[in-house]
């Protein structure tokens, strides 16, 4: 599977020197060999082969869609009809949705093949994929000369590992505060969170509804452009879905950067940030300048308030969204002495520690007497954060920053202090609060031999510029490093 990209496989499938069944069989074999990574909660090999055969039949009859025969991993936060959907939580034990999420339905309509459901942080709450009820995902990457298990980032950690290890050509992710971009950065792949409203949220297990967006995770910028086009689009079933045409993002690739202005925000630095991240950022600036872009210094003064704002808004919305898990309608039930006791026992046992913690924070900040001090205040600061971006976008076309303040860390390294874990998302969270599109592109390796990503932030609904600039970075960085396949020996 190593030589494949979505674009490359598409060309070979179109030419006919490769069938969807052959490609899918190879992918399934690679997926099974990668089981030590724990990237998948559910493998759907039989379904994948059926879908591949259907794709081959469509190809013959001239009805091949945008992703005809392309094997993908689906984050287990997307409801898939008749296929176990867990959100990596004990509380959704045995849940087989009787419906299909709009985004996955769009992918199947485009001809894609489902390899299975990818592991994630429970309810997408985490930055390391360690809060999953199904156990942590191991990154395919290891530090140079060090066999310690590393995290793939999170929450879309299984999706990232599936693409970075090579068995899936692409994967769906969701991003509430960085859950596509940070794992993409940690594993050396491309991930884009589109503008809020671009992809339908219908049928995606809700975490924080005003922040959640789905997006693709792929090996190349071109692949992300192809996959996002298939995922996106207006959906009447999501009240915040935006009624705007989806451009052919691939058409934006290869255009010159002449005349584009790229903003560099001075606030995107944190205490103790490794010097190599600053160096990589400067390298990225030089690449874009060489490609013809004009570099403009900008300021986003409320950046430091984005994380505290997020840790009020996201738990508040989560506590409300997760009220539906009551042990009555789906999933786990732990019997109690009466109905309230049943609710309390079910939820205490069904939710993991991080999810319980966030429900508690959210319940508190929304409770009588505290709503104004916390939630309302946070929503006002959020307005200021958006205003910062709006002012910046009066002067620039896109913004370049690092994706995360570090490379991947060891499994267990940050699980004792929730706030320390939250700091991982310091550069990605402002983008969600402002609803803007953001993309992580692999740009180099750190001194420890692990991937580092650069983040591009765009104007609302201007994903095309991100693809155009992202591809320029990809070309200049020429990132070809791949993890060694230690997991094949580990079996």
């Amino acid at each position: 599977m190593d030589g494949f990209t979505i674009a490359g496989a598409r060309d070979r499938l179109t030419k006919g020197d490769l069938s969807a069944r052959e490609l899918t069989q190879t992918a399934i074999k690679a997926m099974e060999a990668a089981r030590p990574l724990n990237a998948m909660i559910t493998e759907t090999a039989d379904k994948a082969l059926d879908m591949a055969d259907a794709a081959d039949a469509r190809r013959k009859s001239g009805e091949a869609g945008l992703l005809n025969g392309i094997p993908l991993a689906i984050k287990d936060l997307f409801c898939t009809e008749g296929v176990l959907t867990t959100a990596a939580s004990h509380i959704l034990d045995g849940f087989h949705p009787p419906y299909e999420s709009t985004v996955t339905a769009n992918l199947w309509k485009a001809g894609a093949v489902m390899l299975g459901k990818a592991n994630l942080d429970e309810f997408a709450m985490g930055s390391s994929n360690e809060t999953s009820f199904y156990g942590p995902v191991k990154s395919p990457w290891r530090r140079r000369d060090d066999n310690a298990g590393l995290v793939p980032g999170g929450s879309s950690g299984g999706s990232a590992a599936a693409v970075a290890s090579g068995f899936a050509l692409g994967a769906t992710g969701t991003d509430t505060g960085g859950s596509i971009r940070q794992p993409a950065g940690f594993t050396g792949i491309v991930g884009i969170k589109p503008t809020y409203g671009r992809c339908s949220r219908w049928g995606i297990v809700a975490f924080a509804s005003s922040l959640d967006q789905a997006g693709p995770m792929t090996r190349t910028v071109r692949d992300a452009a192809i996959m996002l086009r298939a995922m996106a689009g207006f959906d009447a079933k999501d009240s915040t879905s935006v009624e705007a045409p989806v451009p052919d993002y691939e058409a934006a690739l290869g255009q010159s950067l002449k005349g584009l202005r790229i903003g560099i925000p001075k606030e995107y630095r944190v205490d103790n940030m490794p010097a190599e991240i600053e160096t990589l950022w400067q390298q990225g600036i030089a690449w874009l300048r060489d490609a013809g872009a004009e570099i403009v210094d900008i300021t986003l003064p409320h950046t430091k308030y984005a994380l505290p704002t997020y840790y009020i808004v996201a738990p508040a919305e989560a506590s409300s969204n997760l009220a539906r898990y009551d042990g009555v309608r789906f999933g786990l039930r732990v019997p109690g002495k009466d109905l309230t006791d049943t609710y309390e026992r079910t939820r205490a046992e069904g939710f993991g520690a991080e999810v319980r913690r966030r429900i508690m924070v959210g319940t508190y900040v929304l409770s009588a007497g505290y709503y104004d001090a916390y939630y309302l205040k946070a929503q006002k600061v959020r307005t200021l954060i958006l205003r910062d971006f709006e002012e910046a976008f009066g002067k620039v076309d896109a913004i370049l920053t690092p994706t995360a303040p570090s490379t991947a860390f060891a499994v267990g390294a940050k699980t004792n202090d929730p706030v320390e874990m939250y700091l991982n998302d310091v550069f990605t969270v402002p983008v969600n609060l402002a609803g803007l599109p953001g993309m992580s592109v692999p740009a180099g390796l750190g001194s420890d031999g692990l991937p580092l990503g650069l983040q591009l932030i765009g104007k609302a609904f201007d994903e095309s510029t991100l693809f155009r600039v992202g591809e320029a970075i990809e070309r200049a960085a020429n990132f070809t490093a791949r993890p060694e396949k230690w997991w094949e020996a580990a079996r």
């Binding site: 039930r333 009466d338 946070a378 307005t383």
Partner: protein, 95 residues
Amino acid sequence: MSLDNATVAKIARLARLRIDEAALAPMAKELNGILDFVAQLEQVDVTGVAPMTSTVAMKLRWRADEVTDGGNAEKVTQNAPNAESGFFTVPKVIE
């Protein structure tokens, strides 16, 4: 502002999360760590700033108020841990 054990027990009750007496103090410590972190927002002057309602300026769509779905009791209850004849069942709530 610091949460005490009694407040944590009250929040847990509101959130319908059973919490053992022994878990109250550690949970209070964790929540206070998070609340201390978000307290940075006190430094921000938000005088005259409207709270955000939507990142993208958009008008909510209207739709006709009509029945478009229904008659799926079996489908709706198929994932219930305890269902009977198209109904969800719960412990007795009326004496």
